[in-house]
Symmetry: C2
DNA sequence: CGGATATATGCATACAGTTGCATATCAAGC
DNA sequence: GCTTGATATGCAACTGTATGCATATATCCG
């Protein structure tokens, strides 16, 4: 499980409450990890039982009390140890892909609402992420390794969203026009690049 | 949950045993859905309780008995109904990305074994998927909608693996050379393409 | 004045997915 | 002869994630 570690990383960068963390999951690192507030609160409880985080209650006038969490020394070394452990292979399970694979069973337009909703959602995220990038591009050259790594994770998010948009647009074209889509440029690139890497080996 | 529906789709295409299904998950549609044999057997049990699938036991000499499953009429209409329901938004959680985000805490080479393992795994899958594609390309023009849809899901798999390879290679370069990677061509394409779509709206 | 949204935390339950184990046969390789 | 791997199915226990509910205050908007 790495929700534990995702929380530890966030707290290592900056302490905060469960609520703060859920905002940060939504607003800043959503391009590689998502967590609901319930998961976060439960995980923080476990983490403080393990002594990997500490907290102090902050009473607030006219606002509910906050538990201000920060990572402990034990938590910090657990994080470092985790970085040296092998990661388990990613597992891809996409409901939408299953639907598209099965789409021949229904009429061609049945999936259009889903497709359009998803394309719009990915466009929105892409815009958001592209809006974050100038921050990193501005300080090129003088960027620290930490900054460069954060930038790369953002670029993963950009690639991911863009990939979905391109592909879903192809699928949409097939369902609407009832014909195979024109071969997009990227496909050619993929094949060219992969032939190169294949030749190299 | 769509493991249920993934199984129904597979049985709709071709009946078979739990073992057969686990092979098909591994070998043919792994580019969008993965399931372990335990999950499959449990799900098949539930599906036959719901009367969405039927089975007959086939005794085999010198091999364990098989349960040969096929989809029922009720299962087929459940599948069709499901196609018209909205899909829930995809949720992205990548352990490796969390590690890369946190990599500044350890020495730069700590993640290299993970990266190399993952790059090799994605290359292997990419090769496998590229090997499947000629089958679809050969019958272009005379391909049915069903075939085209299957082809598109394969292309998703190809894009997915390629995307990982490209990006992981950038990350590796940063960790090894301790410098920001050269801006790859794709990144430029992404930005160009997105500006177009932004302008269109 | 009512409804939506933001702040702030949490419990209980259900469902999904993983891990470890168990059983049984046969073929291939060392 | 022994191990490994493929065929074939399954239980039990555990971990992880999702869903629904509960509470409390304040602000913003119409």
């Amino acid at each position: 499980m790495s929700l534990k570690h995702a929380i530890l990383v966030l707290l290592e960068k900056k302490p905060g409450s469960g609520y703060d963390l859920s905002q940060r999951f939504k607003r800043s690192i959503g391009y590689f990890w998502n967590a609901s507030h319930q998961q976060i609160y439960q995980e923080l409880k476990k983490l403080s039982q393990e002594q990997w985080v500490e907290f102090e209650v902050q009473a607030q006038a006219e606002r509910p009390d906050r538990k201000h969490y920060r990572i402990s020394a034990a938590g910090r070394s657990a994080l470092k140890a985790w970085l040296h452990e092998p990661a388990k292979p990613e597992r891809l399970n996409s409901e939408l892909l299953v639907k598209i694979y099965a789409a021949y069973l229904a009429d061609p337009t049945a999936l259009l609402p889903d497709l359009d909703r998803r394309i719009a959602a990915h466009r929105e995220k892409l815009d958001e992420y592209l809006g974050h990038e100038p921050f990193y591009l501005d300080k090129r050259g003088k960027a620290s390794r930490k900054q460069s790594l954060m930038h790369l994770t953002l670029r993963y998010g950009i690639r991911y969203e863009w990939n979905w948009i391109e592909w879903l647009t192809e699928v949409r074209a097939l369902l609407v026009d009832e014909q195979a889509p024109a071969k997009p440029m990227l496909e050619t690139l993929i094949r060219a690049s992969s032939r190169k890497t294949l030749a190299k080996r």
